[in-house]
Symmetry: C2
DNA sequence: CGCCTATTTGAACCGGGTCAAGCATTGTGG
DNA sequence: CCACAATGCTTGACCCGGTTCAAATAGGCG
């Protein structure tokens, strides 16, 4: 992790939206104007209720996006890693942020002001269309997830939660989920209780579909989990 | 309802996206190139699984957007009326449609080809930004609804469903929900069973919050329902 | 008017949330 | 570096809300 504001031209995050999507001029402007922030594990980057006017690109680390609902219940809406783009809801809306963002491990972020980003969007129709497509894809995913969370039983929802984690943090070779999440946090993905997560994980372990050793979870039979989640 | 393709310049749907958002050139092109279709109550406009390559603007009538999930369960994801814009998921994605669209009463739609719409979007950054904002708003609504449906008990979800219907079809003066929906359909909004909807409606009726006379539901105490739904 | 479908209401059952106890793991200070 | 406290995890028992099933009633349509 660098001590100072990284340089986009030498940055190794090849999947970063800035590098992938911006044209020459945009890249130059962002490289000059962006800030850089570091946070420790469990600290927040942005809190529910603020008027967000900046966007975050994860330089190094892992983050969760959490929203609070009825009776103070928490729901994890998104997991994100290096290169991913957070805060697009603040991009176009002048409304209070409906979510909080927390670092799941010591992390660093490149920060871009909303107005700067918006002005670059307006100048670059291709970028705008890419952004539109990105958001529609996220949208479709959320609708699918809403169906899953409202139609599945607990066992299915926990399988789904494992696949959800795998999508962002799964080692595609070993099957290991390379992130530290508590049972409570997995429950906030599956929308159930920590006890039910514990029970379902034990079941899947006994069935040979996963191995569980403390916080370390390895997916052994991806297809079996997919089948349970109806995918 | 006209017999033929209506004319955008004389159309009375002042809330139609076409009239509100398109510039002169766009309006002209769409007015010339759009089609016009009529469907009877309960008929479909588009079915889950197809590759959608057109967009719909409701000229006259009412529609529901439904998606099928695990074990064939149905979820009503959206209700729409005159002037509203359907099919934006097909706009930018070349993926099979994850939803079906049905008419809730005899209806007619203006139909625009996707490629035509996309080309107009690219030429008009303001329209594109408006579309982006529209989709982010819908997105935020869906995330809120996902929280509600996963955190609320049945009584709360039914109140929420009534408010959901009210938003699109509620007569703001009388409180009447001006649409015919079965208990089953209300259940597919609240994500519960038709029996539970029946029971909750009876409760709300007894409490004076709504009046129920067959299919006709009138909201008497909007604030009371809002309070139950935590809004 | 009569059939068919939708709605209402009650009863029974079951999945999953809550509670509690014991165990494992992590973190802290001596 | 170890001891012990604190926190997190596992597992079982219990209980409640909500789904399912069933039967009676109301409403819509030919």
């Amino acid at each position: 992790m660098p001590l100072n504001n990284p340089n986009c031209y030498t940055c190794q995050n090849k999947d970063c939206t800035i590098q992938k999507k911006f044209n020459q001029k945009g890249l130059k402007v962002i490289n000059e104007k962006k800030h850089f922030v570091k946070v420790k594990r469990k600290q927040s980057i942005a809190l529910e209720g603020i008027l967000l006017n900046e966007l975050y690109f994860i330089y190094e680390g892992k983050a969760k996006v959490v929203s609070t609902g009825l009776y103070g219940k928490q729901q994890i809406q998104r997991l994100a890693k290096n290169g991913e783009f957070l805060g697009y809801k603040g991009l176009v809306q002048n409304k209070v942020l409906p979510v909080s963002i927390y670092a799941l491990e010591d992390s660093s972020f490149c920060v871009v002001e909303r107005d700067l980003y918006l002005s670059l969007l307006k100048e670059d129709p291709d970028l705008m269309l890419d952004t539109l497509i990105f958001i529609v894809e996220q949208f479709t995913d959320v609708e699918q997830r809403m169906k899953d969370l409202t139609m599945m039983n607990v066992r299915e929802k926990v399988a789904e939660a494992l696949l959800f984690i795998y999508k962002t943090f799964g080692n595609k070779k070993t099957g290991e989920l390379e992130v530290i999440l508590s049972r409570k946090e997995i429950a906030e993905i599956a929308m159930t209780t920590k006890e039910q997560v514990s029970k379902s994980l034990s079941e899947y372990h006994d069935e040979g579909k996963i191995t569980v050793a403390g916080k370390k979870i390895i997916i052994k039979k991806l297809e079996a989990l997919n089948k349970i989640a109806g995918k």
